[in-house]
Amino acid sequence: MSNLMSGSKILLECLAREGVDTMFGYPGGVTLPFYDAMYDHPLRHVLVRHEENAAFAAQGYARSTGRVGVCCATSGPGATNLTTGLVDAMMDSIPIVALTGQVSTKLMGSDAFQEADTFGITRACTKHNFLVKTLADLPQAVHEAFYIASTGRPGPVLVDVPKDVFQAQAHYVPVTTIHLPGYKVHTDGHAGQIRRAAHMMWEAKRPFIYAGGGIIASNASGELKELVEILDAPTVCTLMGLGALPADHPNFISLPGMHGSYAANMGMTEADLLIALGVRFDDRVTGRLAAFAPHAKVIHVDIDAAEIGKNRAADLPIVGDAKRVLSKLNKILAELAPAHAAINADGRKAWWGQVRGWQEEHPLAPEFSTSEIKPQHLMAEIDRISGGKAIVCSDVGQHQMWAAQLIRFNQPRLWINSGGLGSMGFGLPAALGAQFANPGKLVFSIGGDGGFQMSIPELSTIASYGLPIKIIVMNNGYLGMVRQWQELFYNNRLSSVTLDCFPDAEKLAGAYGFPGRTVENPADLASALQTAVNEPGPYLLNVKVSPFENVYPMVPAGGAINEMVLCDAKPVAVAQ
């Protein structure tokens, strides 16, 4: 029944039981026994070029599939390099499990070579973490890690394994149950609260749906669409929620917040009922909290009880999984419809008139020029080629905001970006993970010239695995978002934001053995992108765009979201 196995093999067995097929990692001294066991194990290990990118790639895998992403690093520097990726996953509620090696238990605490207090350091970077000091505890810890990472509000979990635990031998008997008495997962919303929510929705004259990453995490897009259609309410999806409602759905407005559309922010400001689903009222969405949605009652559905009332008090809180709550809610809404739908129908019709008016007044429209490539032009072309279907992994900065504004996502898990933490260097390794998880899909990595240069080493990984990622660099020669803030709020004193040396894209890609090109004439953009997409392998397209373009609309830090700056040098304060 049971047989003598090493800790390394037992760990691989546990991973197999969790359905892990791919792991992103980087070996080192203390993980040698683990990597030796991998040598003849079917699990695919993807060798990245930096541990931080292993965590980002695991996120790309997780974000694009909903399954737990796995990354692995050695002790000391390997583990500390993972931390940015862990905090990033924490902020965006992404399920990943990180495995780290640790120095042997007898050396722990002795400042041994490559020793770091990984358990202590990652306490604040993870949803939970484990230090496994004996092999007897390993299977339990691994299964608990996957369970914690993937249930409730998802997040990163780290398992730290000392070298002697990898090496120890034991009779392996699979762990079939785990018990975490203090780990509370709220899934079903309160039935009475759900019924009250349905009544509030029909009673509203100006309902507005604010949907976020929670919809995607709980695979509730179908239920969201149903709700949107029963209630016929205008809907915004946050930066984390893009694709939760198809972008070509008539009720979809845009993303809200700091770089949200005029209609999205005015809609939130004027709504009398804000239906907040899987969102956390992030400061980038709400602007000045005291002035946010001042006329609205708030229904807040979230699986994390600590999110309720954290930033904005909820008039009607529902703690539960979005999918389960919405499917119940939709039933009740439909039941109530015959008697209630007509009551405020006129009011809601007028509300739509107002929202459509705002959309027409200031649409999120791309800009074009014949002399230079506008960043918005680039995003519009990517949107055209994608047709709402490609996976787009974005880095952080101006390009991220333009991409979020202008590229349509008609399904969830297509838009992959670092929302909460805003980690530059995220996009390319995330695309790597997403492409491994979705081998047949068109995957774009969009980065700025800043973020791209943070993850250049991964070009090597992409080349060595022949991943057909379309690497687009929106190159404006600046750290654009910082430059924009320096221009607008620091008297245009451009301090340390100039990136005046960028490698020749054709030579850079060529050095790794795949094609690349720089394009700067707007007339060439469409065909250059098409060439990139037609290429069966990876392609690096360096797109030189107008350097001083700013992202608008923009809500200045500390402003109310209806106080948007809509274009250069023409601040427009919109009063109600």
């Binding site: 969790e18 299964h143 031998q169 392996y172 149950t177 785990i178 203090g182």
Partner: protein
């Protein structure tokens, strides 16, 4: 006003660090913290006294309840509860003052646990303000050395303890092959 938080948590390495880390990350200073095993040796009871801005108190409790090792975190500040603290004190006193020291100790309900030519070692319990007074009074007799335990508190109203049940391991589509009950490894 200080917030008194009572936690029931798993008696595991790192559990204390998770709780204090949560307060530390928000810049809160812990006034006192006590922790010890409960009758069930797998669990610990912790009492924390901490200065948290009143609007954030609920949030702190919710965040503590989210910790995997925490079975229950509750705010005892404004609910029926009793709180006590223990003081151990060494007081030096002159031969002439010994009788007065003992009298004073008796008033505060303190017990003598050691007596020597230099003075006494005393033990007192009570609420923190009363112990402050006790310490002040004793200081007037001579040099003192004080160790305080920090507050321990117990709620006076029964609270329902909601615990999660065991769950099966593995990927959702696990096979039905029977496996021995919860795996034990014999190294």
């Amino acid at each position: 006003m200080l917030q008194v938080i009572s936690l029931l948590l798993e008696n595991k390495p790192g559990a204390l660090m998770r709780v204090t880390g949560l307060l530390g990350a928000r810049g809160y200073n812990i006034e006192s913290l006590t922790v010890a095993r409960t009758t069930d040796s797998a669990l610990s009871r912790m009492t924390i006294v901490v200065d948290v801005d009143p609007p954030l108190r609920k949030q702190v409790i919710k965040q503590m309840n989210k910790l995997v090792n925490v079975l229950q975190a509750s705010d005892l500040t404004e609910s029926p509860s009793v709180a006590r603290e223990l003081v151990l004190m060494r007081v030096r006193s002159t031969m002439e003052a010994r009788a007065s020291v003992l009298k004073e100790a008796e008033i505060f309900g303190a017990r003598v646990i050691d007596s020597s030519m230099e003075g006494f070692a005393l033990e007192a319990t009570g609420d923190s303000e009363k112990l402050d007074e006790f310490i002040d009074v004793m200081r007037s007799y001579g040099e003192i050395e004080v160790t305080r335990s920090g507050t321990v508190a117990v709620t006076l109203e029964p609270r329902k303890l909601r615990l999660s049940s065991p769950v099966p391991t593995g990927a959702p589509k696990t096979t039905n092959t029977p496996t021995p009950a919860n795996g034990v490894i014999n190294a």
